[in-house]
Amino acid sequence: MSKGSDEGGHVDFTPDELMTVAASRALRNDDVCFVGIGAPSEACNLARLTHAPDIVLIYESGTLQTRPDVLPLSIGDGELCETALTTVPVVEMFQYWLQGGRISKGFLGGAQIDRFANINTTVIGDYDAPKVRLPGGGGAPEIAGSCHEVLITARHSARTLVDTVDFVTSLGHGSGPGDREAAGLTTAGPVLVVTDLCLLEPDPETRELVVTSLHPGVDRDQVVTATGWEVRFADELATTPPPTAEELQVLRDLHARTEQAHAGG
């Protein structure tokens, strides 16, 4: 699926664009969202510029209720501070706002995500002799624990969607029902994974991620091949609605503004 088109055949989009649009639709106008950098930041700002104009976006640098005109390269770009309602110290950010339970959704990415939506951003391979040393946890371990719900987005491949993560940086559903509670958590954890192929949601009984919606033009075999476990499909499998012309226009404008801003140096 390099390109897709809607029923009318006049709106082309890339898999990445569809992923961002699908992720943005998971956010509501009344959400208070703790935003990870990269793909989550794109989806959150697209939501704010389309169907969720009042959404509160919070970045771990302490910028509360920010409305960036261009996508930040880092979680602490000046753009975030200049367009925020207020900027608080990082200690306050994590202790009052996140740990205090005021954030409805955390939006994360990850190098590895497993069948129970546990996230690895620490190492590929053994911790003491890693094949690849990844950046680490950052804010994610507590975002995954303290936000009421967690959304995850990543490109779909068998290297990324794995049976078991090499290292649990941020807890999803552990190894099944009861694991979050046993770890002392009362929050819901991951409720949705958005990839460039499909949507996955935890099975209410087993907590294993199940494909609930295929993106337009994607078939089951593609998803099976690109998933590191024997992935199951929901009985009532949906088709993700394609991006609307408006969603695509807003997203492309956002990208164009961002590229122009970051090229300046």
Binding site: I37, G38, E60, S61, G62, T63, P72, L73, S74, I75, G76, D77, G78, L80, C81, T87, P89, V90, V91, M93, F94, Q95, L98, Q99, N118, T122, Y127, D128, P130, V132, R133, L134, P135, G136, G137, G138, G139, A140, P141, E142, A144, G145, S146, F167, V168, T169, S170, L171, G174, D179, R180, A183, G184, L185, A261, H262, A263, G264, G265
Partner: protein, 276 residues
């Protein structure tokens, strides 16, 4: 009481081989000029504390200044890996690097505890995370009132804390504006502290009674370092050089290329920060 000194003298006087050094600035106000002076003075065996090592510690690690890194997120923000950090961890170049790895929430809490003179910090954190398994400095503590089990980490008590700020007045009081990160906590948690500033002014002109001001008597040294946070930024003075952050990916990928960059832009560059 803050003393105005050159950056060269501040580093010579307050940063010693084997010290535990915290250089903070959360994406904003990262003290690059001070780090480059530490590299020029060839400090060795430092334990470096920083939430986001960023390019600044990638450079210190690649230059061979570090023995250990205490951190929570070691990437090039929005770009990818820190290649010098990875080379040290994965291949021991230029020297092996011991890691003590936390989450942001725990690092912030540890600075907070250090500033508050407490021995450790508590947080509702690390639930189900393997970080507990690989870092013996992540422990548990039971609340004596409710019985809730919480995570505990030792307070950060660096030998030296170094931050960059917008400006100081002639008494040495310092104003920090914008994303203030954990700068205040870092200075207050540290035994000795160095603050580099963009400029010295007659009147601090703090815009609000609630502005973040570090009193002169809580700081050891103030050194002038114009553009001392480049390629990060100083709110109200200059913007983040995002193009350099992107370029660093290529510069730092290769050892020889990194060393050439270090030679040209750090080692043979003159010390910044003239005495007042």
């Amino acid at each position: 009481m803050a003393e105005f000194v050159s950056l060269r003298d501040a580093v010579a006087r307050y940063v010693h081989d084997g010290d535990t050094v915290a250089m903070e600035g959360f994406t904003h106000l990262i003290p690059f000029a001070a780090a480059h002076e530490i590299i020029r003075q060839r400090r060795r065996n430092l334990t470096l504390i920083r939430m986001t090592p960023d390019l600044v510690y990638d450079q210190l690690i690649g230059a061979g200044c570090a023995r250990k890194l205490v951190f929570s997120w070691g990437g090039n923000p929005g770009v990818g890996s820190l290649h010098r950090l990875r080379d040290a961890v994965e291949r021991g170049w230029p020297a092996p690097l011991e890691l003590e790895e936390h989450s942001h929430a725990a690092m912030a809490a540890a600075y907070h505890a250090g500033a508050a003179g407490l021995p450790f910090a508590t947080l509702r954190g690390y639930a189900g995370s393997d970080l507990r398994r690989v870092n013996p400095n992540i422990a548990s503590v039971t609340c004596p009132f409710t019985g809730e089990v919480l995570a505990a980490v030792p307070a950060h008590r660096p030998d030296v804390g170094i931050v960059h700020a917008q400006r100081a007045d002639r008494a040495g009081n310092v104003l920090v504006e914008g994303i203030v990160g954990v700068q205040k906590e870092t200075v207050l948690a540290s035994t000795r502290s160095i603050v580099t500033v963009e400029e010295i002014v007659d009147d601090l002109a703090a815009p609000s009674p609630n502005s973040v001001v570090l009193p002169a008597w809580a700081i050891d040294a103030v050194a002038v370092a114009p553009r001392g946070a480049t390629p990060s930024y100083a709110h109200g003075y200059y913007e983040r050089d995002n193009a350099f952050y992107i370029a660093w990916d290529e510069i730092s990928r290769d050892r020889e290329q990194f060393e050439a960059w270090l030679g040209e832009h750090v080692l043979s560059a003159g010390p910044t920060g003239a005495p007042v």
